[in-house]
């Protein structure tokens, strides 16, 4: 239902217009991909430094420690440690996952999968990337200023994040960087939503869209609605720090007319809980598609999956209070949030069943994207179930702010999104760069990453249940944590394994893009969605002729199919049985 005619773009001629200030959604997608992978590396090294400190307190960080921390002979000092975990969280969430899944794949997949030649607002799209770039630059600069970068945790609760707890410009720059990133993501979201509404190919209803587009679209909706809420919170924080307002500064107890630090927590989590789903929804969509593609059968209950994702999107806006049980909200609020949180499990369980239903009686192949997708099912199962402990208020009183929480949200946000992102990279590589990644290296990468991350996050949950609280530089000043030293060491080793595993990916990725000669076919996986009807890599104008869609994205193994294909393209009519 293309609203208007889309012209065929000409290929840009100059280097600048082709690779730097490109309007082409595919180039912008790739820019976001490189940007995200770079920050994934930075955030990953920060994670290793954090883990190193926890397992071997007082030991110099190997190889680069001496270079980075010359004053302490390579040992990470406590103030740097606080900076590291703050930046690790911020970078991973806003500068690695968001650009890879939403920036790169959102940009790349939405027009291709709905049969459009570009986004509706290409200029907005380009601006969105360059604002994100400026934001990253600000964050990066903040690492090198006097007094250092923000060090109040990625949640930056006041009053620690006001001038009382963190003097110096780091925290202000942090808030400014996130505010800019919010503007960038909102621009992207406006673009994605409008594109999905108006540029779907003729004949493509909403349920004919691949589930990836569903996931990305729902994410964009959440982004458009809730990023401004974070923006408001950050503005207030910036005003508190720069102009001397007193939103988050409380006076003595029970005096009126002073600010309230808890206000920030409310604003932050009104945004923050949907943010979890902002990160995970694209991965869910992609995994739902890939499971069907490689089981060679239609996605089980695709409509129900799409609707479950939608209802989770809506529910996610109503449950944020479970992050704040220990601030002692009124009991009524606590009970309400606990119950509402639990209702999320209904749609989650339904689409989980649908994932398994897709595998059921399939004809399953196991190339790299599929093993990564199966990995997502595993880790998200664990992540989702361990959320129950944190939703019930009594267990949360014990587990809140312990490593159990850290393990849980890494399972849901980090592990499943990371694996989902890798699945997407391995899967769409031929369409993006015209070459296939090496399968053997891909499998090695998967297994090492998978074992590593389970070791890390399971270990974290165990030490968390053992009582170890978050964000502590040296846990072993506490007697009750001394027995956890071996588990902490094990977690660190797992993290190192996981970190080293990424070398296989980086080698594979760089080698394939720059040195591999062999070209990929137009449709190497045998999949019928629209992006596979065009050559690999996709040409500048995407579709020579705007396709007309005649069936859904998951038409596999229809018994009425004739010929040697077991799938059909979305442009083909379903054969009559």
């Amino acid at each position: 239902m293309a609203f208007f005619e889309q012209h065929i773009h000409e290929e840009p001629k100059t280097f600048l217009s082709k690779y730097i200030f490109s309007y082409d959604h595919k180039v912008i997608g790739k820019q976001f991909l490189w940007y995200g992978i770079f920050f994934l590396g930075v955030g990953g090294i920060m994670a290793l430094m954090i883990r190193w400190t926890l397992a071997f307190p007082g030991e110099a960080f190997p190889l680069i420690g001496g270079l980075l921390f010359p004053t302490t002979n390579g040992v990470i000092p406590p103030d740097t440690y606080a900076m590291l975990f703050t930046m690790h969280g911020t970078i991973m969430i806003f500068y690695a996952i968001t650009p890879i899944l939403i920036g790169a794949f959102g940009n790349y997949l939405i027009p291709l999968q709905i049969g459009a030649r570009d986004m509706v607002f290409p200029l907005l799209n380009m601006l969105s990337f360059w604002i994100a770039f400026v934001s990253a630059a600000i964050l990066f600069i903040s690492l090198f200023i006097p007094l250092g970068a923000a060090a109040g945790g990625w949640t930056s609760y006041p009053t620690l994040s006001t001038l009382i707890g963190s003097p110096g410009a780091g925290q202000t720059l942090w808030a400014l960087a996130l505010f800019l990133l919010g503007i960038s993501s909102t621009m992207g979201a406006v673009n994605y939503i409008t594109t999905i509404i108006v540029l779907r190919a003729p004949g493509m209803g909403y349920f004919d869209m691949p589930l990836s587009v569903w996931g990305l679209g729902l994410t964009a909706i959440l982004n458009a609605i809730f990023l401004p809420v974070l923006g408001a919170g950050l503005l207030l924080l910036i005003f508190d720090r720069v102009f001397g307002t007193t939103f988050f500064l409380a006076g003595a107890a029970a005096t009126s007319g002073t600010g309230d630090p808890i206000l920030f927590q409310h604003v932050f989590w009104i945004f923050g809980h949907p943010e979890v789903y902002i990160l995970i929804l694209p991965a869910w969509g992609i995994v739902s598609d890939l499971l069907s593609f490689f089981s060679r059968k239609p996605a089980f209950g695709a409509k129900a999956t799409a609707l479950s994702m939608t209802s989770i999107t809506i529910l996610s806006t109503l449950v944020y209070g479970h992050h704040m049980y220990t601030t002692q909200m009124s009991p009524l609020l606590t009970q309400t949030f606990m119950t509402l949180t639990m209702t999320i499990s209904i749609p989650s369980a339904i689409f989980f069943t649908n994932w398994l239903g897709t595998l059921w009686k399939g004809s399953i192949k196991f190339p790299t994207p599929m093993v990564f997708s199966l990995g997502v099912v595993f880790v998200f199962g664990l992540g989702g179930l361990t959320g129950l402990y944190l939703a019930t208020v009594t267990t949360d009183l014990y587990l809140h702010d312990t490593y159990f929480v850290v393990g849980h949200f890494h399972y849901t946000m980090a592990a499943s999104v990371l694996l989902g992102g890798y699945a997407a990279i391995y899967f769409w590589m031929p369409k993006m760069f015209g070459k296939m990644l090496n399968e053997t290296l891909g499998h090695i990468h998967f297994w090492l990453t998978f074992l590593g991350l389970n070791g890390v996050f399971m270990g974290m949950m165990i030490v968390g249940y053992g009582g170890m609280h978050r964000r502590i530089y040296n846990p072993f000043v506490y007697e009750f944590l001394e027995k956890l030293i071996p588990i902490n060491t094990f977690v660190t080793w797992s993290a190192i394994v996981m970190g080293l595993a990424q070398i296989f990916f980086v080698y594979n990725f760089v080698y394939t893009i720059f040195f591999k000669k062999e070209k990929a076919e137009a449709n190497p996986w045998g999949v019928g969605t629209l992006e596979w009807t065009i050559p690999s890599p996709a040409p500048v104008y995407n579709f020579k002729e705007i396709p007309v869609v005649k069936c859904g994205p998951h038409e596999f193994g229809n018994p009425a199919l004739t010929g040697d294909r077991d799938f059909q393209y979305q442009t083909e009519e379903i054969p009559a049985t």
Partner: protein, 268 residues
């Protein structure tokens, strides 16, 4: 070789510790009357989770194995929109919700209402303590012999909390600067210390001994050092200590020092 030395040291540490894995994984010893409620709910949820996760794994690994392409070349063509399919998906969704979620919500809610927010009243004669958190220390204040807070006979302790066993304890918590969180690992309980907003927590120790108190909310560079000591006494020992401390308080408290009077009127 230098970079491996910590690794070797850690490995030997593992070998030297005689603790079994299960023992290592156990939470800190429970010294409160109601901590077992939390442990029990945790164990119950774990049981349920394991059950459901086994189901997921059976589906995930079982289907992957049974229906691998080499063994099962032709996929079954279905959209999963037949009646039995929809019923199974709905049944799974509802069974998780009703069987697990509503169940643990009910249990948690009961505990929450009947125990954790059932604040001791004046007639229960609980030990009352006011807690002031600051970067990076805990101040504890007992009312002293007159039973009124913020007077000159108050017992003020730094990073040193002493409590009797078998008597309810109620602590009112406030922060001076940033948000902290008063964390009793051995009682399975914590509550945030917030500037400008009084929070409270109550529990009842059951065992005499020496324990740790920690700050669970990120509060700055030395967050990890914001540690206090908890000593639990038998009732007689506590009485002795209290008497001694009251005497001492009257002698050492400097009433000219306004810093001393950070307390507030007790709010029942």
């Amino acid at each position: 070789m230098g970079i491996f030395s910590p690794v070797l040291a850690a490995t030997t540490a593992v070998n030297n510790s005689q603790m079994g894995l299960i023992e290592m994984m156990a939470p800190p010893e429970d010294i409160s009357v109601h901590g077992n409620l939390i442990d029990w709910l945790f164990a119950y949820t774990t049981g349920m989770n394991i059950l459901f996760f086994i189901l997921v794994c059976i589906g995930l690994f079982g289907f992957s194995w049974v229906y691998r392409a080499s063994k099962h070349p032709k996929a079954y063509y279905t959209y999963g929109n037949k009646k039995p399919h929809i019923m199974i998906a709905t049944a799974v969704g509802l069974s998780v919700f009703i069987g697990v979620d509503m169940n643990i919500t009910r249990i948690a809610n009961n505990d929450y209402v009947n125990v954790f927010t059932k604040w001791p009243k004046a007639e229960d004669n609980p030990v009352r303590v006011e807690v002031l958190a600051q970067q990076w220390a805990w101040h504890f204040r007992y009312a002293g012999s007159d039973g009124v807070f913020n007077t000159e006979d108050d017992i003020v302790q730094l990073n040193d909390l002493r409590l009797p066993i078998d008597r309810k304890v109620i602590l009112q918590v406030l922060s001076k600067d940033v948000i902290h969180s008063l964390y009793f690992p051995n009682a399975r309980r914590k509550v945030d210390a917030i500037p400008g907003r009084l929070t409270r927590i109550w529990w009842e120790p059951t065992k005499a001994g020496n324990w740790d108190i920690a700050c669970a909310e990120m509060c700055g560079t030395y967050h990890y050092r914001m540690k206090a000591h908890l000593t639990t006494y038998s009732q007689e020992d506590f009485g002795d200590w209290l008497a001694e401390a009251s005497d001492k308080a009257l002698q050492v408290n400097d009433i000219e020092n306004p810093e001393l009077f950070w307390g507030w009127q007790w709010q029942w």
